[in-house]
Subunit: 245 residues, 6 copies
């Protein structure tokens, strides 16, 4: 299976990190291509940066999508998710989307622990748009940064475990560690926190593989419709819009 | 009052039409500047085109926003609305947003009549994100195009009046004619349909003026936060993101 | 534009206060007539007082409505709002209704700061009936009384600013100062609180003017139906019920 | 048990009808006093008439409430229900309120068959305010009038049975015949319709008796609070407001 | 009236306690038969125990139901409620179901005080399935056990009164003391707590009697459908499933 | 990976069918053990049969669960799902649960096509309990039986494709073919229907594998709590309840 990972942040280092973790998680289950947004914020941390990232993600998909069996939008918060699904003939899954739905399989109510203060209300709106507000116990937006994790891995795990325990107090059965930057920490954090903890990147990958196997390209939706002319876009994206059925 | 109208469609002709109607509606209440998206679909009619338009609207706001007292996002469906609100020091109001909330003042349940088949589920999601699903009676996406209106204005009014009557049967007290292309038709349509009908452009303009007077720039929100570096954006948009408090 | 302000409290002093503020806010935009409820509580502060006030507001509208271009129900909590809309040929807007919908244009989640302990659950039900519970961050019912504001204006502003900051902590982007008694305080309170703050009276006035312009009487709804005979009502109200189409 | 029936319609003939049916239903379980609204519409069939009826119901309760063990607000639609509960030391139950909650005990989803076109959206709002929209299958507002029932009882039963069957098609398990005018018809209608059918008057009476036994006056709520001065009300109602704790 | 009380706990002592209280509450209003689950947990305190209890309750109903005029499922949490309703020709009412709906008649928002930590989320889901989440103020799962009540009745009342006062602070108007083990304590607790308090067993009994009178067996639903063959069940239950219309 | 398939229907032939399809779908990804309910309905098609099946599924899990890495509850409608999750140290996924959440990844709104008239309202309640009512476009309960599929496979596909097309008209983007009996038909049905169609068994298997990999037993939830004594259960189930932490 060929899997396209789209990182709509413009920091290549995040893409490399995601690709590395993804390779370790999936092993030879999938051949992974990871691409980075051509324009927009280095680190998406606001509604405006996310809006630009939606365009950048479409741009990536138009350029690199052909040939992929499935696509993972690898930015927790999933900028542009519904638009990507619209133009793609193969399944596109978002990292936050997958995490929320997988969390529902593992517990009655879930919580999210992630970094970036502005992400709190953005994720609340995202979960509501998924229809899952009733199953959300809490969102906590204090998390160690990549730098802090590198400098003090044990401290980072302790801090995250504390947040996860607080989420249990909010009524959560399972906690999502949201964001590629926290990849690899779910297991040690769960160990300390005494509650189910899942990694958003792994949830995204597992769900994307499952979706791709469940819905191979040959049975994918063929919606009616007509494309529209456009201006100022990359040739690939212009083509994708025009070809929109 | 200086009012910035952002048309994120890339067809200049729509911008001119909107500006013309807006001038007639507001008279000397406001000095209007109308700008067109620099890139994206000529006519936004899909989720992917709307996602790109959100970026284009931000780009317009960063370029032309300084000096405005208020901003109207003049595309029914309001691509990028929350992102624009985030970076703007003055009120930003969306044409669909304003229409829905004004309609709530005029009736217990409202309906939307607009063109473009794909807009149906998009607007359903939009109304849900506003929290107003419980007050939405129906969305009907059959409407005459600009060309059809020009060719047969009476036929267009008859067609729209018929849709509005059907909305009354769905339980609506008031109907929104959604989209700049239907500007100017609310009054004759209401006449024939026997139900309250409002023009989305006029609703947008009235609500924007009201919001701007209610919330002058000097009392506007000053949210905490830190901007983020970016790449590949217009200088003005890059600056706006970086300056994000 | 002729604007009828209905104060369903029976304290004339509030009516005078409201009329005075309204005149200053609208200037020559509208010619204002302000009327007081003929019967009921001096200060509406309970569900029973509000139920009586709904009748009193209908009584006012039947007596003073003819000739008005729009009506503002100037009691935060809007007793009888839907009933007034039913019998009026011109738009009727409630002060709380307008505040909630205008607040939605200015922020993603709003809060209400007002006086009167019983108003808490009453306003919670009111917001739910508007369909906006999902956008309500908090209701706080501690506010200085008119007497306290007159005795110590600076202290009142400080107290309100503190409440507004607490609302920001609850997730609000914008706070409504609810009630005519708090008119004129939004700007200094916003200054101290560092969050958007709106005056419910001004929101009511701006929204009423916008609604009246958007929906002039000649295009208003003409609902079918037949009136009903009644007893023990003012002649004007009896007539209004009988004429109900 | 002394039961006060409040009919806020001002037609004495309805009160007599209700009292007569109630006596037959409860037998010697309760001593019934039935009172009629002093002012307002003869037949409540609009939001404005209902708003006035809320005041009239409060007026009745203040005048005739003392000494009662429980109160049934005997107008399907329950004008002023929450206000009556507020000033009463003993349980007040509404006929529609009781019917909806009793219907929930008897089926998963319920429907309402009643007369009066305007009652449709009013009852929809009422059910929503009860929190029971998710259990409402349908509201049908075509029902024979009192005159029609008297003239052709068999035809009336046939017509109602047909409506009830249509409600079963809408997914209802149980149907409420709403309104005192339909009292006595539930059994023959159920016979023909092949679905559970309940009489709103009987549901109101059974639930009121149950509530009164469950919650005798001596354990009733003693809420804090302070009354408020008023003007233009009956002496009894003025006293009730002032005494409001 | 013949009333069947089903206690799906397998501890006979609880059944005896329930029957004793029920006899005192209903006096000669009903002839009561109380039965105990044949298999399952002695005290139901988990989702798995409740799932087994649903089967046990069906088994009881099939064995002992014939001849009853109504059935009360006397375990707060109502395991198997919808299934029992399905196979019963006479009304089946659950103790928690009845308590929630009766509480809605007595207050705008209700709370639940009961024992057993796991019951918290189970009851939250139960209330949601009833459609009443919007009217639930709080669930508190700390309550004295039967042993503790017997050892120190005054202390038990004090502890419960404290919980009820905390519920008032959560916005509740009325509190349900949930569980047969707390039967008989509502009145002294209300006395101390200063808020309406209802006994779940009495609420269940009152509502069951009301439902049975409202909906005598001869007008009960006769749903279409065909039974299904089964294996390994009691003869009575097998017959009930096969006879399912 | 060792996967336990629990079929709570008591017809062994269904278990064999499910196991056969599952083996073909998963190949060597998992070693599958499939078990059949010891008691209850041969074909679960009512709330009462489903309530008994919940007990039977727990009984299976207690007997056969030890050693499994994950469990699929292979009856569309998932009787006892939350109870199984409670007692299992490894992930338990339901076939309907998995189908709904996977469908959400593949489309904005999903529909269900399955057999058995009574399943309609049962599944509506199930989807609501998942929190996904807002994403459900329709449930259609007309489907060919196993016998009909065997007799006329082409006709069965045509019939199902027609239902799926009707779901598209209801606004669905993706349709779930619910029930093990329809396994293997998704692809030919999608071919004819022109809409995404997924097989509930495959969705269940894919999601269970994904959940098991995401949440290996060693990081699973360890909830506090104490077991409870029981009577009349299988030794294994009695032990599972007692060991419940």
């Amino acid at each position: 299976m060929r899997l396209l990972l789209i990182n709509p942040n413009t920091a290549d280092s995040i893409t490399a990190l995601v690709a590395d973790h993804a390779g370790r998680i999936l092993g030879d289950e999938a051949e992974i291509t990871a691409v980075t947004g051509r324009f927009g914020a280095r680190y998406i941390a606001s509604r405006s940066a996310a809006a630009i990232a939606a365009h950048a993600a479409l741009d990536c998909l138009a350029e690199h999508g052909p040939g992929a069996d499935a696509v993972l939008l690898a930015c927790f918060g999933d900028p542009g998710l519904e638009a990507l699904k619209e133009i793609s003939p193969v399944p596109v899954v978002g990292m936050a989307e997958a995490s929320c739905h997988m969390a529902c399989l593992l517990g009655r109510r879930f919580a999210i622990v992630t970094g970036g203060e502005r992400w709190g209300p953005m994720l609340q709106d995202f979960v509501a748009a998924q229809g899952l507000s009733g199953r959300l116990a809490a969102i906590r937006t204090v998390a160690p940064t990549g730098g802090e994790i590198a400098a003090d891995p044990d401290g980072a795990v302790r801090l995250l475990a504390e947040s996860c325990r607080a989420c249990a107090g909010d009524g959560a059965d399972v906690v999502i560690l949201g964001g590629a930057g926290l990849a690899g920490l779910a297991e040690p954090v769960a160990e300390q926190a005494g509650i189910r903890v899942i990694c958003s990147l792994e949830a995204g990958l597992r769900a994307t593989v499952a979706a791709a196997r469940l819905q191979p390209a040959r049975t994918a939706r063929r919606a009616p419709g007509t494309g529209t002319d456009s201006t100022g876009l990359s040739a690939a994206l212009r083509h994708a819009l025009t070809a929109l059925r």
